[in-house]
Symmetry: C2
Subunit: 274 residues, 2 copies
């Protein structure tokens, strides 16, 4: 019996060829203990039905993707962003998730002001913390690869995310995704700095040497250049014992394959290569 007691599947990995209901059934049938659903997947059947199915299958939820996307040009936009975060928080609560993953948001349309956008992220997470702490949900700021700075996240290194955590205090940690962080010469130091208490999630996949698409060409563990066992060792040295969540966006490869084949490959590669 393979040891997959810490394996979680981010449901984006099989999003194109099955519904969330089919995905949850499949994950459970293969003996994988946890999942991380996206909000649009939850919306397919509604929160109530998702919660019911997750409970009946005995699945754990390693995270809900996602809150965040704070930076805004107008007060109206800002309030809409906060409101979206409240709904994401509610979903994390009902699903008893280990954390709510926050992708902080990029530059608002037409803006070149990184400092302002980063300040808005700080304000947004601070606002959300006042709601997430009473709700008992850990927030996880996910630093995204610098290539997403313009359009998805103005938080781009683990160091920067931890600086934000330092300012914000308890209740917020980081989601460490190897895809976003592997290149960073400071990674080992920053993982140690984060420590067990602030690593709220650990995401794995691989970086393909010949990446063809900036968003949708992630690799399966073992197919790329990331030294996954090394980064895992740094994470585990902190005492982290949470899930290792596989998250693969791959429009031309894994998203085209049978979900069951994809998950069987995830299990095999998780054990062999990560």
């Amino acid at each position: 019996m393979p040891n997959i007691s810490q394996l979680s599947i981010n449901l984006a990995t099989i999003r194109e060829r099955c519904t969330i209901s089919q995905a949850l059934d499949l994950v459970a049938r293969l003996g994988i203990p946890a999942v991380s659903p996206w909000r649009d997947q939850i919306a397919q059947v509604g929160l109530k039905a998702t919660v019911k199915q997750v409970r009946e299958l005995g699945l754990r939820v390693s995270g809900v993707c996602r809150g965040g996307m704070f930076p805004a040009n107008t007060q109206l936009e800002w309030e809409a962003n906060l409101e979206g975060n409240l709904r994401a928080l509610e979903e994390a609560v009902e699903l008893n998730a280990d954390c709510l993953v926050l992708v902080t948001g990029g530059l608002p349309k037409g803006s070149r002001d990184l400092v302002k956008a980063r300040k808005q992220v700080e304000e947004g997470v601070s606002w959300l913390l006042e709601r997430s702490i009473p709700a008992g949900i850990q927030l996880a700021i996910e630093p995204l690869h610098p290539m997403y700075c313009a359009d998805r996240s103005v938080v781009n290194t683990l160091s920067q995310a931890l600086d934000l955590c330092d300012v914000l205090g308890d209740g917020v940690g980081v989601a460490c995704d190897v895809y976003h962080l592997w290149w960073d010469p400071d990674l080992q130091t920053q993982i140690a700095r984060a420590g067990q208490s602030r690593i709220s999630a650990y995401h794995i996949c691989d970086w393909l040497q010949n990446t063809r698409h900036m968003l949708l060409d992630r690799g399966m563990m073992g197919d790329g250049v990331i030294d996954l066992p090394l980064i895992r060792s740094w994470v585990e040295e902190t005492g982290y014992c949470g899930f290792h969540e596989v998250e693969i966006f791959s429009q031309d490869n894994w998203w085209k394959k049978e979900p069951e084949d994809v998950l069987r490959t995830c299990i095999e590669r998780y054990q062999k290569c990560s």
Copy 2:
């Protein structure tokens, strides 16, 4: 008369629709004082003919692109890489270039060892410095955007490049390209740390919010999200008074346009947006 006394054109910007000879004539005719050629462009007519034309036109050479590409799997490959750098150095000498730009190289084929590749870069630049100092050519390590870590450069931030300079000593500085560095929360600090003596080149273009290709979709100044006047102010605060070199790889847009139109746009946007 526009003030373009510090403008330089990296000849990659108009590489697809003219030869190097046509490019040099055109740059000179428009009153732009400097260029930066790529080695394959020089090879079109040979070094001697390139030098002759550059001198006759009275052009300055802000840099030669490029040396570097050090990491190797075998001794044979390593030596071939060093040999290539000697030829690049010779071209920089003959062209009386302000610097030889070094793109350090990514992971060698099949490798996941970033530490080793980075060590090889240090050794390679150190080896080259023993030749470049007597030759009177400044080396400029160009940190490339983290999205090129696997295939082009394991040096990915200005901080990392400056750490390397600290180890290597005199004769080597950095090429600051806004495209690679704009996202970095530590950029202002690191530009100040570099100071005038170690900023060997300053490259400009823009980052398009909706970037469609990881290598060949750079934007013209003003069309993207980079706060160019802000970064320029940080660079000029160090006392930097070298060239501002426009370098745009743009297969679907600028490379398809008439070179003269591209250069006229460079002149206009350089003055208006950067």
